[in-house]
């Protein structure tokens, strides 16, 4: 168990056991925010940067509140100000340029940026977002940041000899941003590295990136790593060497087929277990989610278990996304109560066994 976990236990937490409940980050945008973005893009509309910023504030306040209402212990703003996980950051980093949309699949495109010069830190990326969310939230706020390996891998590289050196330079920038976030009060940072799933052989590069990211960050700041939709056997147990407190993994989508990967050798970090599927538009029942949480207890003891959705939920209908969060929290509290009363045998080795 990491020492920095207890700070997120709410004062009024009902059970002795504490399964930290949170989300990965993205959330469906309210339809009116999409309309505001359309208006902002429309040169004929009388809708400028100030109006858009106000709409984004309103949406961030609304969705942060929605997260709190569902009962989550640690909340986010649903990434209301972000369009896409690489574009958003590339717009804020010197050295990037945009040339137009490229195909992902079918008629789904993204503005894949090009690195045309050495990357450097310009304006802050997320401090304003964090400060606003923290100011409207009663619960602690987590900050998701796209990781340097993904920022490098999902960009065109015109300027660096190889992707690895680009990723390391970006990692130094992420470190700089996290220092600013920590100064602003942030205590929970999540690095998102979905690109690792496509190129698992590069786990050592991601590890070196994380060394740079974590350098000088105080121990009471919790750092998580989110990796989704891949063959985890190709990166485990190597990832246990990474300097992070927690791994946030997608496992519900594959019906926990990959769970055994993490049982040998023992999972020494905290596990943020995906317990609801981010790509199925039906809300899982509380009972189903409780069963999923118990799967996590086959890998780690309760002190190391965080409960979260598989991935960002922005593609789901909003009411479904909310339903999943509310049921996730209810299920976690039920499992905690069962643990308190001794009704659950924890299969995972306890930390004392180490």
């Amino acid at each position: 168990m990491t020492e920095n976990r207890e700070q997120f236990r709410p004062d009024d937490h009902p059970n002795d056991h504490f399964l930290l409940t949170t989300v990965v980050g993205s959330y469906p945008k309210p339809k009116w925010l999409d309309r505001a973005n359309d208006l902002y893009e429309d040169p004929d509309a009388d809708f400028g940067a100030d109006e858009l910023a106000e709409a984004e504030d309103d949406a961030a306040r609304l969705i942060t509140g929605e997260h709190e209402r569902s009962g989550l212990d640690v909340v986010v703003d649903g990434e209301m100000r972000r369009n896409e996980m690489v574009e958003f950051f590339a717009h804020r980093i010197d050295g990037y340029e945009f040339n137009g949309p490229v195909k992902v699949w079918g008629h789904n495109y993204f503005d894949k940026p090009s690195v045309v010069d050495e990357v450097s830190y310009d304006e802050s990326w997320l401090v304003d977002e964090y400060e606003f969310t923290a100011s409207v939230a009663d619960r602690p706020v987590k900050v998701p940041i796209t990781g340097p390996y993904t920022l490098a891998n999902w960009s065109f590289n015109e300027a660096y000899d190889d992707e690895e050196s680009l990723a390391y330079d970006l990692a130094d920038l992420v470190n700089e941003e996290i220092e600013k976030l920590v100064d602003a009060g942030a205590r929970y940072i999540q690095i998102d590295e979905p690109a690792l799933a496509t190129t698992p052989d590069d786990h050592a590069i991601v590890g070196e990136c994380l060394e740079r990211i974590a350098a000088g960050i105080p121990d009471d700041v919790r750092i998580g790593l989110h990796v989704c939709y891949g063959d985890y056997s190709r990166i485990y147990p190597e990832i246990l060497e990474f300097p992070v407190d927690e791994f946030d993994l997608e496992l519900a989508n594959g019906d926990y087929e990959q769970l055994s990967v993490f049982q040998d050798p023992a999972f020494t970090a905290d596990l943020a277990l995906g317990v609801v599927d981010a790509h199925v538009a039906e809300v899982e029942s509380v009972e189903q989610i409780e069963a999923n949480i118990r799967k996590g207890l086959e890998v780690v003891p309760p002190e190391q278990l965080t409960v979260s959705p598989d991935c960002g939920v922005k593609l789901l209908p909003r009411e479904v996304a909310y339903g999943k969060m509310a049921n996730l929290v209810e299920a976690a509290r039920n499992v905690e109560a069962d643990l308190d009363s001794g009704d659950i045998d924890v299969a995972a080795p306890t930390p004392a066994d180490d």
């Binding site: 949309p101 195909k103 699949w105 008629h107 789904n108 015109e158």
Partner: protein, 335 residues
């Protein structure tokens, strides 16, 4: 020796067509090209084809492709539109951050004519037509077989299917590029390497046009390369962007056909190679191997849909310029 500027096709849609088609067709997997598109959708694709042919002609390319704008599923396209194939789940396209519908083959791979129809339309627009076709090994590799039951039988069926499609191509087709990235990405082992070569041979035998078997994303394993040389194709492609040393080694060690295709422009990076750089890369390759080539196809290594439109067009112009000035010089010398 003639240097021929060309590409492996699979072009990005023009940006206005991206929007028009996504509005007409939708974003979900059931909305993608099925082979029986509506008249509205077909009209957009007809316009796109004209635009893509014109872009290549303006760039001065020596071979002009249809553009493969309809290939929503990239190289899997000829199967995903087939009547006896169901488009399955969305799966990753090689180790790219791209996805396609897994073609699940549920019945006999009968003649389709989908590729020939697009080429007929393109033949009205250019006299330098080049067809682009997935190689049989790659197409089988990208698909799921639920009908033939045996890997070797399935690949043979895919080869026969492609041969039938190629046989139906219009006379105007001068060159056929058979794209075989799976020969590198999922290298065939003992026995399978020989069958892959035979499958390429089957498809190549279906046309009188020049046939280029073009693997990319690296160099072929030595044995795979040696077997591929047994196929009756006119040229083999070498991706010098991804791996120039091993490709030179293969040619120096095992020889190659009388003609070659050289992937010297990076289809997956926005950095635009200058015509000088392109010429230097071709010169370099020719200096490394003893061969005296008939034709050298000077090409991008991969399809170009990975790129934003502005960089795609710049790369075409660079390719055209890289061979254009040279043919002018040669013409002057001959005169």
């Amino acid at each position: 020796m003639t240097r021929i500027a060309t590409t492996p096709g699979l072009f990005p849609l023009p940006d206005d067509a991206k929007e028009a088609l996504s509005d007409l067709k939708g974003h979900q997997k059931g909305d993608l090209v099925s082979g029986d598109e509506s008249a509205d959708v077909s009209a957009v694709y007809d316009d796109v084809r004209e635009e893509l042919v014109a872009v290549q002609q303006d760039a001065g390319l020596d071979r002009v492709v249809e553009g493969q704008a309809r290939w929503d599923d990239m190289l899997a396209h000829p199967l995903t539109v087939h009547d006896n194939v169901s488009p399955g789940g969305i799966v990753r396209y090689y180790d790219n951050n791209n996805f396609y519908r897994d073609p699940v083959v549920e019945g006999e791979l009968t003649f389709s004519g989908d590729l020939a129809a697009d080429l007929e339309a393109a033949a009205d627009l250019t006299d330098d037509l080049q067809a682009v076709v997935p190689g049989p090994y790659s197409l089988a590799d990208l698909a799921t077989d639920e009908h033939y039951g045996d890997d070797a039988d399935f690949q043979a069926a895919v080869a026969d299917f492609l041969a039938g499609e190629v046989e139906a191509f219009p006379e105007a087709v001068e060159t056929v590029f058979l794209l075989e990235p799976s020969l590198v990405e999922n290298s065939p082992g003992d026995g399978a390497d020989e069958r892959a070569s035979e499958a390429v041979d089957t498809v190549a035998g279906a046309t009188d046009a020049e046939v280029v078997a073009h693997p990319y994303w690296g160099a072929l394993d030595e044995k795979v390369h040696a077997h591929l040389l047994d196929a009756d194709v006119d040229a083999i492609g070498y991706d010098l962007v991804a791996d120039h040393d091993d490709n030179v080694y293969n040619v120096a060690e095992y020889g190659t056909k009388d003609s070659v295709a050289l992937g010297v422009v990076d289809g997956q990076n926005t950095l635009v190679e200058s015509p000088d750089t392109i010429r230097e890369r071709v010169d370099w390759f020719e200096g490394q191997v003893p061969n005296d080539f008939e034709d050298v196809y000077v090409t991008a290594n991969t399809g170009l849909f990975y790129l934003p439109v502005n960089r795609f067009e710049e790369k075409l112009r660079a390719l055209g310029a890289a061979t254009g000035s040279e043919s002018v010089e040669e013409a002057e010398v001959e005169a």
